[in-house]
Symmetry: C2
Subunit: 208 residues, 2 copies
Amino acid sequence: MNPISVLLVDDHLVVRSGLKALLGTQPDIAVVAEAASGEEALVAVDEFSPAVVMMDLAMGAGMDGIEAIKRLRRRNSKQAILVFTTYDSDADIVRAVDAGAMGYLLKDAAPEEIFAAVRGAIQGRSVMSAPVASRLFQQLRNPDEVLTPREAELLSLLIQGLSNRELGKRLFISEATVKTHLAHIYAKLGVETRAAAIATAIRREGMR
Amino acid sequence: MNPISVLLVDDHLVVRSGLKALLGTQPDIAVVAEAASGEEALVAVDEFSPAVVMMDLAMGAGMDGIEAIKRLRRRNSKQAILVFTTYDSDADIVRAVDAGAMGYLLKDAAPEEIFAAVRGAIQGRSVMSAPVASRLFQQLRNPDEVLTPREAELLSLLIQGLSNRELGKRLFISEATVKTHLAHIYAKLGVETRAAAIATAIRREGMR
DNA sequence: TGGGGCATCAGCCAAAAGGTTGAGAGACCA
DNA sequence: TGGTCTCTCAACCTTTTGGCTGATGCCCCA
């Protein structure tokens, strides 16, 4: 049986070589190529046709991981794509799955978890880190936590640091309405203050 | 000549093993121990007395890198401490240098840069990544905008969404003092509200 | 046709945050 | 030794925010 060929995509050299060293301990897994950006990843896939692509999402410059996943998917290529990243933001998870990722691993995952994900990927099994899975389940269980379009619009201005008065002017609504929306947003985000909402939104939701 | 003994501190296994593999290519550098948290780092320093400690700042749980650096410094230990982290926020840099770090490297640094930093560290030379250096230079040009260590510490908690009361409790100071610090931070960041400060800090400073 | 969700607004009150001024203690440095 | 910086705290006042209740109009859809 041939070993499973893997392409590593991460802009950090140390992460790539760490992952390579780790995967190298498994006889049935072989790292055949590395890439430091989305662009490089596309080229490497063409050249090496790996069975599995392990992809970081946040790449320093150029094409990010999500975009790279989308482009790979658009080619009808048969690689299984695993996201391997540091953060488990709801927005990132949703976007990655939507783009066509097969699994979602966090960088602090145990080695066995990583091996299992690679082996599972080529069999069409979806493996994800526990925190990631629990976030997904939570979203399924609590659909009420989804922001309405107007709330999302307000939130996107809120995280710019605007006051209630400014939000009202910008959205052509009264301060009272702003406060109503904010109360709903806080409830959905599970916070009590505007400061926490901003912090949570920027981090957890990946908003900028 | 004995090789330079190095302790790696990072909560991510792949980063540790990547860094270990990288440093292993240099005959004059030897990784003698690894730690996954601040607590482990303190124990490992006692046990192995490394010449250089490479420390991540954001540790998943428990004591963070800054606190670990402070405690090492308090012991009069002679280790040179290098920060090795993903982000180059002004506040983190200020806090790390203040805590007693010898150098500040980013995880996407070139191997040569990392080797040079380790070798420089034991000679008392301070080596830092280019983006970090340029931030420091910019701070030198605009000294009025540089946060003091205490302000940086406060800001790092502020962007977690804490209230004034919580900030006070966490830092063992009164709310009055918190408000004084906040006023100074706002002035330095060029904002007027806490919301804007959080938004600015997270974006401009790359803070998380 | 009657809910239900969404967006809008008002008023009231309590809590939190922000602006200002002033001040003391300790560190550092010229 | 005097000046400057940092960190600490207080009192006072204004503005902003948050919590609550209740209400209207609209649209969709069962």
